[in-house]
């Protein structure tokens, strides 16, 4: 099991942004689409149609940008304008994925930041909160 509180070495956040960002977007989209294809992520994402989301992993200097088009998550250009962006460190994203921390708590502590269309971000947060994660997923992030 990974430790709960950590921050990746600082050089990563400095090198990271200089590396291609496309693989992060590709990997995230592929994971999401695979989860949906295998019916592990059954939720109505239609409110995202035509919208662009960005997830910034600060201590990794990584940013994934994705767009929901015609009912599918697609990687978008790293410099594309995002409708909503989330920023947090790896450890905090893991806490959210493990559901050991609630996003409001991280927000109060300034560890999770949201920019752009707040309603879109909140709808996404509430949608994810309404889904029960499959057992394999909980094991994966444990």
């Amino acid at each position: 099991m990974l430790p709960t509180d950590f921050r990746l070495p600082k050089f990563l956040s400095e090198i990271g942004p200089k590396l291609p960002q496309r693989p992060w977007s590709d990997a995230l989209c592929a994971s999401l689409e695979l989860a949906r294809f295998t019916k592990q992520l059954e939720a109505d994402f239609s409110f995202l149609e035509g919208r662009t989301l960005r997830i910034v992993i600060e201590d990794l200097g990584a940013r994934a940008t994705l767009r929901y088009v015609n009912g599918h998550f697609r990687p978008a250009a790293g410099d594309a304008d995002a409708d909503v962006s989330f920023r947090a460190a790896t450890a905090d994203y893991l806490k959210l994925l493990r559901r050991t921390e609630d996003p409001d708590t991280l927000f109060f502590q300034r560890k999770l930041r949201i920019e752009g269309d707040t309603e879109l971000g909140l709808t996404l947060k509430n949608l994810l909160d309404s889904i029960e994660p499959p057992a394999w997923f909980s094991k994966l992030v444990a």
Partner: protein, 335 residues
């Protein structure tokens, strides 16, 4: 001594299960419909299918489910609220939590067998108001606004046979429950009319070199430096310039925590202790429910020697809004 019910929030099915699994006696929920409850956020709350699943889950484990229909019906649109009450009755919830007198009347006439609770939004702070509601609408429980001191709560309980529910944990607001229209000035919506203080569509956070700005309908309501804690983006919790000084002009973001007062609440006979936070995620619900369950059980087992455990304070402090937890009005010296 009666053991108070622990009443916990559920904004969705996983939160409801988290509350039940961690020791809530009762959960409260709202419908995902047009603004009939005071936590009307996009994507939050229950549709018919998840409500049925949730009620089945809770009842299967011997717990109760309450349905909050606690906004005020807007003129000409009463059928929306009436339908929510009909839905609650059909779903078989254990009680509805209502604030609007017209809706209390509707529920009394249409579903006399359905238990009725007076919502905190009903703003009844004295036993005369509560007893009047009992006489008119047969309410069996009232949730007290968070403005009374412990002796005042005791006084209310001593003069009514209506069960009294009090808040035990969660974010505090300016506590003019049922009467607050403050956010309407900036957003056109308020908790009592549209079910939200700061509708998400009006909220923007902007990162600037001097910090994170919180804006509500474009109005700057606060600015946080890099490591300064944030609160919910509501007008009441904003910092404003008053006489050349910038500070929390209405209130500082703060959370209520009554753990240290549990023996008093037991002694005066509160029927239920409520946790705020239907907008929060299952992780919060699990943590707070587990902690208050342990604290309440310990207080009931030996009220005289009860002392809050540091671990409880740490768990509750961590998920709190603002840097402070307080006993709120319960322990203030003035009335």
């Amino acid at each position: 001594m009666r053991k108070p019910e622990l009443v916990c929030p559920a904004g969705g099915l996983p939160a409801l299960k988290a509350a039940v699994d961690n020791g809530a006696d009762t959960v409260y929920m709202g419908l995902k419909d047009a603004a009939t409850n005071a936590r009307n956020f996009s994507g939050l709350n229950f549709d018919l299918s998840t409500a049925r699943d949730g009620i089945r889950y809770a009842h299967g484990k011997g717990r109760k489910v309450l349905m909050a229909i606690n906004t005020f019906a807007q003129a000409g649109e009463e059928p929306r609220w009436h339908k929510a009450i009909d839905t609650a009755a059909e779903l078989g919830v254990d009680a509805v939590i209502l604030a609007d007198m017209g809706l209390l009347d509707y529920a009394t006439r249409t579903h006399p067998q359905l238990r009725r609770h007076l919502s905190v939004q009903g703003s009844a702070t004295n036993y005369e108001a509560i007893n009047l509601c009992r006489d008119l609408f047969g309410i069996q429980r009232a949730v007290l606004p968070r403005v009374l001191t412990l002796p005042q709560v005791e006084h209310v309980i001593a003069h009514t046979d209506v069960e009294i529910e009090v808040f035990g944990f969660g974010s505090l607001c300016v506590m003019v429950e049922g009467r607050c229209l403050l956010s309407s000035y900036a957003t056109g919506e308020s908790p009592n009319t549209a079910g939200v203080c700061s509708p998400a569509k009006a909220v923007r956070w902007v990162e600037t070199p001097s910090g994170t700005e919180a804006r509500l309908s474009g109005i700057l309501i606060d600015q946080y430096k890099a490591d300064e804690p944030a609160g919910y983006p509501t007008l009441c919790k904003g910092r404003f310039e008053v006489n050349h000084e910038t500070y929390y002009a209405l209130e500082e973001p703060t959370s209520l925590n009554i753990v240290s007062a549990l023996p008093d609440l037991l002694r005066i006979g509160v029927a239920a202790i409520k946790v705020e936070g239907r907008q929060r995620s299952p992780a919060y619900v699990a943590e707070v429910t587990r902690t208050l369950r342990a604290a309440l059980d310990a207080a009931c087992a030996d009220p005289a020697r009860f002392a809050p455990k540091p671990a409880w304070d740490a768990a509750l402090g961590k998920v709190s809004e603002g840097q402070h937890v307080t006993l709120g009005a319960y322990l203030r010296p003035w009335k």
